[in-house]
Symmetry: C2
Subunit: 430 residues, 2 copies
């Protein structure tokens, strides 16, 4: 058999250790599929003494990850340090400059610096692979970039953050509030000590930016993604969602509209019968709609050592076999220049929940604002009677424009009888 | 831009015409993703006069499809004639012998002659691509062969025949019998005039043989697949399935067991909450379970001109980019020699429905047979009372061995009070 492919792994957290484990446990099978053995020969991590559950003997150890790129015995660099800046970025740049293929699990890096890195990879003529950056072990990058490559994609949507999906699932199943469920998730290790990247939607936005670039064949544009997280979702709204036949999910959605590409991450009400509504817990799922293939859905585990390492090693097998694809699906010069559409131009239906004083005339005032803004109502629900006290009122609108909705919302929030900041959740067909 | 990839298409049925349509409608996008234009230059079909909805002017026309392989201006051959023997097989052989890459949608050919053709492709050093052979537009071949390549797969299961899934879905939704729904499906064009390939499970078995070879990295073995169709499924059983919390689906399942690889296509009772239970109508879905990735599911349209052509053109883009994979995921010499396990060694739970005379002692006789065969019952249901008349009795067993179950079934069928051939449906965890 041919000489082994010599791999350097930068970062020995759960994913890095997972990559070593897969390559050790499935060595024979990986060699058969790759056409040659794949062997880790060099590593870099901060702490040399920590036990990571995998033997590290015989490997060249570098304190500086960037030095891995210069090791002449290294064929391929795996970057699983994370973060859009610092050593991760420097290492990937250095490796590509050395004409070494790279496999990374780093969504932040690809979302923020993906265009620059693609140019580097193109110049060097080497692959920059990142299957693990989106939806863990689900081969969604490969599906969009190769499997569905014959299609014009009109929409890609997904549950891209397992932490948020887990929290929303538990909130629904147990009728509990966000803060409590988050605290429990942190104890269980499903959420980070600083949960902001996950619960504020940033992680999902990184992934959506990558999916949108691939689906629509244009340069990655993280800054154009509209981002909202799930902190404002309450058990009350999850209950109302159920009554209206919806589930609340944090979705990333990118869509081809007449004006360009719309890309957004926010909580959505999705019909209970839609495929994404049934994806619960830590699972991820991505739906793509193509002009010839129709709707395709992929579902699986979006995080964790095993699934993520599975994707990294799949990239290494591709590299070993010489299977390469331009980073964003086509050469930089062949990418589309479709503009991004700002969120203010979004068109869709809305769920609006107010806490109002239960007294005559309040509903008339609220609906008058909507009427004056040209927004028509599909349904309205007022639950309970408590004269003079606070009661929830739910309004579901027909499709309307985001800017109009936002303006109406400001006027509604300013009404005397409206007691809290209103909750606005967009309704997504699926 | 580089010279176009010159493609010959053999067979201009719905799929062949679909390939021409995709390559025409999405020409620019396909060229960007393939790195060069992809142009059909030669075709072969029986009837020159039929209108196929796509312009055929300027294309070289061959009456004999096999002649396409010898056309020196043809770079790649697309085979969408169908059938495991005859011109399809001859053309693919001839093209590979001419060292021309082939893309085929032909599941029968790949299931029956896939080992021989893989050897030819390997000798010639050219790709033999067949994404369209399984699950239409869903990139399941690519997912198994590349995306999940780092994993040891323990089980692959799927809804692989849209016609059967459509019939079973309508039977359940409308409470109708197989023969009526089949007749309607034929009128609507969802079932062939001769429906045997679909409803007797042969089409699904071709696809399962392909999936099993890829999942377990061993030579394709169609003859080892146990095959049963859906003709014996009655509205009565579908109703009982619902009462027990199941849905009836025709599944193809391949599993690594202690003794080797088990591969089978038959109607299954699957729990209503399992992912495959929710896949209705003409949709297909495939679930794969890997040691690191966990469970991954892919779902979409498994047939039709658009989805199938989407897969064929994806293969052409791979070929244009030079992305190749050994036919069965690894070189012939590196494939596993895991034996096939006969159906008699299957181990699982069973649903058994009898029509018996409603008189004392019948249940005792039936359960005595099961007891004597070492088969234990999980539950039993007798519906209605009609002394001296025929009533249904349903028995659900705990896990047991197929051979024991079959032997018990013969003895039960021979009982005086058992009026019709019993219905046996295997219960599948999901």
């Amino acid at each position: 058999m041919t000489r082994p492919l010599s791999v350097a792994v930068a970062g020995l957290g759960t994913v890095g250790a997972g990559v070593l484990t897969v390559l050790r446990d499935n060595a024979e099978l990986v060699a058969a599929r790759a056409g040659r053995p794949i062997a880790v020969t060099a590593i870099s991590a901060r702490d040399r003494s920590r036990d990571r559950g995998v033997p590290l003997g015989g490997l060249r150890w570098y304190d500086d990850p960037v030095a891995l790129a210069a090791d002449p015995a290294v064929d391929v660099v795996v970057e699983v340090i994370g973060g859009s800046e610092g050593p991760a970025r420097e290492l990937v740049r250095a490796a590509l400059e050395q004409r070494k293929p790279v496999a990374t699990a780093n969504k932040a890096l690809m979302a923020v610096h993906g265009a620059e890195l693609a140019a580097l990879a193109e110049r060097a003529g080497v692959p920059l692979a990142f299957e693990a950056a989106v939806a863990g072990g689900i081969p969604v990058i490969k599906a969009l970039r190769e499997g569905l490559a014959a299609n014009r994609i009109s929409r890609v949507a997904g549950i891209l953050n397992g932490t948020c999906n887990y929290i929303l699932t538990v909130m629904r199943e147990r009728g509990r509030e966000f803060a409590e469920v988050l605290a429990d998730a942190q104890k269980l290790g499903y959420a980070e000590a600083d949960p902001s990247f996950d619960v504020d939607g940033i992680d999902a936005a990184h992934k959506l930016a990558i999916l949108a670039a691939l689906a629509f064949g244009r340069p990655v544009a993280f800054e154009a993604v509209h981002v909202e997280g799930i902190r404002a979702i309450s058990a009350l709204d999850i209950g109302f969602a159920g009554e209206f036949g919806y589930r609340i999910k944090l979705l990333g959605i990118a869509r081809q509209t007449e004006g360009g590409i719309e890309a957004r991450v926010h909580p959505c009400m999705v019909p209970q019968a839609s495929p994404l509504a049934g994806v619960d817990g830590v699972f991820n799922a991505v739906v793509a709609e193509g002009d010839f293939v129709g709707r395709v859905m992929l579902e699986g585990r979006g995080a964790g050592a095993g699934p993520t390492a599975s994707a990294v090693v799949a990239d290494l097998i591709d590299i070993a076999r010489g299977r390469t694809t331009p980073v964003w699906g086509a050469a930089s010069g062949a990418l589309s220049d479709a503009p991004s559409v700002p969120m203010s131009e979004h068109f869709g239906a809305y769920y609006l929940r107010l806490m109002v004083v239960d007294r005559p005339g309040v509903i008339a005032d609220v609906t008058a604002v909507l009427r004056d803004s040209g927004i028509s109502l599909e349904s309205m629900l007022q639950r309970g009677r408590a004269p003079g006290e606070s009661v929830p009122v739910v309004l579901v609108t027909h499709e309307t424009n985001e800017a109009a909705m936002r303006a109406a919302l400001l006027r509604i929030a300013a009404l005397d009888a409206v007691l809290e900041a209103p909750t606005l959740i967009r309704i997504e067909p699926a």
